[in-house]
Amino acid sequence: MRREFGLFDTLLGWFIHALLLVLVIVTLYPLFYVAFASFSDAGRLVAHRGFLYAPLGFSLEAYAGVFKNPGILTGYRNTLFILVFGVAVNLIVTALGAYVLSRKNVLWNNFFMIVIVLTMFFSGGLIPLYLIVKGVGLIDSLWSTIIPFAVNTFNLIIMRTAFQAVPDSLEESAKIDGANHWTILMRIIVPLSMPVIAVMILYYAVEKWNGWFYAAIFIKDHKLYPLQLILREILISNSTESMATDASNADRFQIGETIKYATIMVATVPILCVYPFVQKYFVKGVMVGALKG
């Protein structure tokens, strides 16, 4: 298949590869650093300065420290709940909105668009939101992290842009075949926009996974804490701050340093695994194939 490219193109290819390789090394380092630090011997890590090429010694103490917290399991469970139902709600509502807003000849669309965009700039702050969430009875429920955040305006706009890019001709022919809006959305728009929908899944999933601020405000029952809140607890309880006047805790604070990194591993690695699934949809020519098929 490969045609003969000019010498310039070959050189360019090499250059691009080299550049990306550098980028890979530079961006991989933080993860390595965190991983190495999390497996390191606590005392040696505290003494260490600068680069880490490998764990300093080897110790699983930090992970033991993280997982001995009884909240970890319920934390994972709650986060999984929030993730699954949250992303589902996000996708459905966002897709519906994006679909409508991507239609032409809808009288109110421009108005809607402005109304929606304004919310990115003006908000009432925490307290009125709390009162509303309380009013609809979501306080102390996992749904309080889902329903009040059903749509991310930023994502809605991106999805709308993607939906707008689907050729009109396809819809027109579907309409002639008698398809209604629901059918057009599900059978034409969504399959053709899979790469962007995959990105949306990723964005929303990461948002749900990492979210803790509102959970800390809306959820008081310790059993309903999502993972990130539990991890913050572990961090704070092992932080030097809470031990400031503590004399006999030298070992504990040293472990605190490695625990910091272990919690990051525990909090990060699972969500990193989502990407390869998402990446599957980033295959060139999906659209062309769909058109022809």
């Binding site: 045609r3 550049l19 961006t27 933080p30 409508v100 890019a165 209604n180 809006h181 390869p276």
Partner: protein, 322 residues
């Protein structure tokens, strides 16, 4: 591919039908689109309940808020909070720093992920490509505290970067103690952390480009650079335009966490921004009203920028929000 122009055209279309009168247009539109409005209902409800209903809270920017009186019941103070902010001794400095840091981050940080997506697009090996993609977005997930910890230790007087630079005649002082270096360090580390994550949306957009265009171009003997310039880049232009508009609408929102993790009082003159200033103020007093006034100021500027960006992209690339 790039057929995003339509909303503007559509609204123009609506305008030409104006002779029917608003009521008539409304009825006609509703009859035509009632199912669409039904589909829109959850979104409208969501925005009404969780965004617009609480929005009265923004009033506290004009009030002296005390919790027991509530937002509505607190005393009006008019523009006093804004005056406080504008007349602050440091107002011009933090405004200048905010604008400059925002500007540099936009100038270098916005194109970076696009370039990355374009480069990745040129990689033939599927494995290397997906590997590079997966790796490049990892720093986004590492907490800011750790990232900033790394930056501090790399730029210390005995840090890696410093050791490297002393070979080129740098004086070896801790780099974060030099006001002139704060912005470059901030912007570069920003790119380092965000480049992969922000490129994902462009990578997704790249998949929509018709492969036959490349075939045709290759037949004509177009070089890779030319293909990139004439096919790839226009192919993702609508996405770039929308991202640019959204970015402009977020321009002045510099996260205060990173600033306060990296700055110190020697670098205040280049590093202190609105958000970090308000943060320090918040440590001393409980200024809900004040910080909300500052937030409102920020938002208004951002909104104006977004509107300007929207106009600009509509002219240049025919993509826009409305």
């Amino acid at each position: 591919m790039a057929k995003t122009a339509s909303p503007a055209a559509a609204s123009a279309g609506v305008r030409t039908r104006r002779q029917g009168g608003f009521g008539l247009r409304f009825v006609r539109d509703f009859a035509l689109n009632k199912y669409l409005y039904l589909m829109m209902l959850p979104v409208v409800l969501y925005y009404a309940v969780f965004h617009y209903a609480p929005m009265y809270g923004a009033l506290i920017a004009f009030k002296d808020y005390t919790p027991i009186k509530g937002i509505i019941g607190s005393d009006w103070v008019g523009l006093a909070n804004f005056k406080d902010f504008f007349s602050s001794y440091y107002f011009w400095r933090i405004l200048k720093n905010t604008v400059l840091i925002s500007f540099y981050t936009l100038l270098f940080g916005f194109p970076a992920p696009i370039v990355l997506a374009l480069l990745l697009n040129e990689v033939r090996s599927r494995y290397f490509k997906s590997f590079a993609q997966t790796v490049s977005y990892i720093p986004h997930f590492i907490s800011l505290v750790v990232i900033c910890g790394m930056i501090v230790s790399f730029t210390n007087n005995d840090g890696v970067i410093n050791n490297l630079l002393t070979h080129f005649g740098y004086d070896g002082q801790a780099m974060l103690q030099k006001p002139g270096l704060f912005r470059p360090i901030y912007v570069l580390s920003e790119i380092w952390q965000k480049i992969g994550w922000e490129s994902i949306i462009y990578i997704a957009a790249l998949t929509g480009i018709d492969q036959e265009q490349y075939e045709a171009a290759r037949m004509d003997g177009a070089s890779r650079l030319k293909q990139m310039w004439y096919i790839t880049l226009p192919g993702i232009m609508p996405t770039i335009a929308i991202m640019f508009i959204l970015r402009m609408g977020n321009l002045l929102n510099i996260g205060f966490e990173k600033i306060i993790l990296l700055y110190n009082s020697v670098t205040y003159e280049t590093a202190d921004v609105i958000a970090s200033f308000v943060y320090r103020k918040g440590l001393l007093e409980f200024g809900w009203s004040y910080s909300s006034a500052v937030g409102l100021f920020n938002s208004v500027v951002n909104l104006l920028l977004l509107i300007a960006a929207n106009r600009l992209t509509r002219k240049l690339s025919s993509s826009s929000l409305w």
